[in-house]
Amino acid sequence: MRTLTFAQALNEALKQEMRRDPTIYVAGEDVGVYGGIFGVTAGLLGEFGEDRVRDTPITESAIIGSAVGAAAAGLRPVVELMFIDFIGVALDQLYNQAAKIKYMFGGKARLPIVLRTTCGAGMCAAAQHSQSLEAWMMHIPGLKVVVPSTPYDAKGLLITAIRDDNPVVFIEHKMLYGTEGEVPEEPYTIPFGQADIKREGTDVTVVATMAMVHKALSAAEELAREGVSVEVVDPRTLTPLDMETIINSVKKTRRLVVVHEAVKHGGAGGEIVASVAEEAFDYLDAPPKRVAAPFTPVPFSPVLEQAFIPSVEKIVAAVKEVVA
């Protein structure tokens, strides 16, 4: 099969869906001529024109809020928030409007919105362009939260997101854009709430998201050489969250490590560990562990930033602790 980068896979999903459904439009900062700051919307303007590929001013509240109004009025907006860090200036339109309107209206509104955004550290972009805020998003009833880790998942999940009738926050880790993988040419969907076992193993379950999936896989490779068999589970969506796959894996391995790049305190890992404790406590042979960033803003200096991002070494160490 041919390979694409993560960014190309997303781009292909957008193009194929826009060809299929004329009610889909793309809007955001620099999504037109520039093609998106990370290139994900490259070529869309040329193919679909200015009505469907709309450069917006720097106006995050209006980018998200106009998507709410347009979706309520029958369109399927796919809007881009250049960095998830910028959600602060626009959060009301997402969590008080987009997420709640269906419920507040007694179920009568349909809001098919995809909010694509980027997260993550690794580019020395410092504290306001590097955060991982997915836990904020998964705390809001009414939103779906997608966290792809591979080009294959990125394409299938984005197509699912676009076809979903709910507001979906689609989070792309910026360090994954250049990663390559096999991606089918035809459009395909990946159901939300279906975790993917990225590597099978028997001794410990490592649940990891986005860029951390790849570090978990590296750790698993290293640990395999030492005779430890690691199962790597990628939830792929945090809302809905496929706890069934995670719990079944834990029942098999009897040990759990959760890895994410977001700060540990209040992170998705707490939710996953708590759910395992509620549902499968008796299966655990060791206390679960979380490998996540420390409770600090993301620092600028490459040395500090690398100290902030969970490393393969830290994952290996955590696994060794739970299997000891």
Binding site: A62, A70, A72, A73, D92, M104, F105, G106, K108
Partner: protein, 322 residues
């Protein structure tokens, strides 16, 4: 602008419907039959009426926390509204929204809104959809003087302006953001002056004169439908009651209130219609009696409707694929 008799009487009836509905809401709130917060529109009826008189059923509006008047003017059903205010299952939102979130998407009502300034970006989006689909629809955003200081107002109007969308922003300037007078929340006297920042027309209107509102809105909506882009209409008005029911109103004088009550939009319009020979005492009584009966029917409907079942709490969070 000449207005036919039928339209004049519709406007009169609509204003009086809002007034009678809300007087009943105040009464029911006072005796504990309506839970939560209630923000009444009494005194401002000419604004929603004069604007919505031009709207088609498929046009959109976004409303505010003070939204009953907008809903009634856009065709909202009194029974479903009252039941929603009671928190009953038969209400517009099955009891999940209440006064601040009443909506009827089928009538283009994209919701009252509990967030001051929540509406402008949403109205801009609805206007974008109208332009995108080429339907000739417009989107009207009702907002208050206070909301015009929010960033979302600037962002929504600016985007509507640069994209030349059929959006009309109607500022109901009732002079106070809860307790803070307009003079202490902005330097401009006329909020319509802010239209210049977006290179769109700004109209200042006596918001207690339904004909004046009707004329300004007519021009703004005509422009929008014909592809000339958004407009800003500032309607100077006054809420007779507090910000919400129970507001002690220590921030304004009884003299000021009396001065504005003397300019009551309904009484003014009624005199005018009688002068014009469009309305008689007998006809006015007939209209009023009919409204009172409809409001009573709405109350009876709300009272007799069942509560939601507790398990309904879990429904309608997400749209489930068919």
């Amino acid at each position: 602008m000449s207005i036919d008799t039928e339209k004049l009487l519709w406007m009169y009836t609509n204003m009086l419907t809002i007034r009678r509905f809300e007087e009943k809401v105040a009464e029911l709130f006072a005796v504990g039959k309506i839970p939560g917060f209630v923000h009444l529109y009494i005194g401002e009826e000419a604004v929603a009426t004069g604007v919505c008189a031009h709207l088609r059923k498929d046009d959109y509006i976004t409303s505010t926390h003070r939204g009953h008047g907008h809903l009634i003017s856009k065709g909202g059903d009194l029974k479903l509204m009252m039941a929603e205010l009671f928190g009953k299952r038969s209400g517009y939102c099955k009891g999940k929204g209440g006064s601040m979130h009443i909506a009827d998407v089928d009538l283009g009502i994209l919701g009252a809104n509990g967030i001051v300034g929540g509406g402008p970006p949403i109205a801009t989006g609805a206007a974008l959809a109208a332009k995108y689909k080429g339907t000739g629809q417009v989107a009207v955003c009702f907002l208050g003087d206070g909301a015009s200081n929010q960033g979302t107002f600037h962002e929504g109007v600016n985007l509507a302006s640069i994209w030349k969308l059929p959006a009309i922003f109607v500022v109901e300037n009732n002079m106070y953001g809860i307790s803070l007078p307009q003079t202490r929340s902005m330097r401009v006297q006329d909020i319509a002056d802010r239209a210049a920042a977006y290179d769109i027309p700004g109209f200042v209107v006596d918001g207690n004169d339904v004909i004046a509102v009707y004329e300004a809105a007519g021009e703004a909506i005509r422009r929008a439908r014909e592809g000339e882009g958004p407009a800003l209409i500032e309607c100077k008005t006054y809420r007779h009651r507090g910000h919400f029911e129970g507001d002690p109103m220590a921030y304004r004088t009884r003299e000021e209130e009396e001065m504005w009550k003397a300019k009551d939009p309904i009484a003014r319009f009624e005199s005018k219609l009688m002068e014009m020979g469009v309305l008689t005492e007998a006809k006015a009584k007939e209209i009023n009696d009919s409204i009172v009966a409809r409001v009573q029917e709405a109350v009876r409907f709300a009272e007799e409707s069942p509560w939601p079942a507790p398990e309904e709490l879990l429904q309608d969070v997400y749209t489930v694929a068919a």
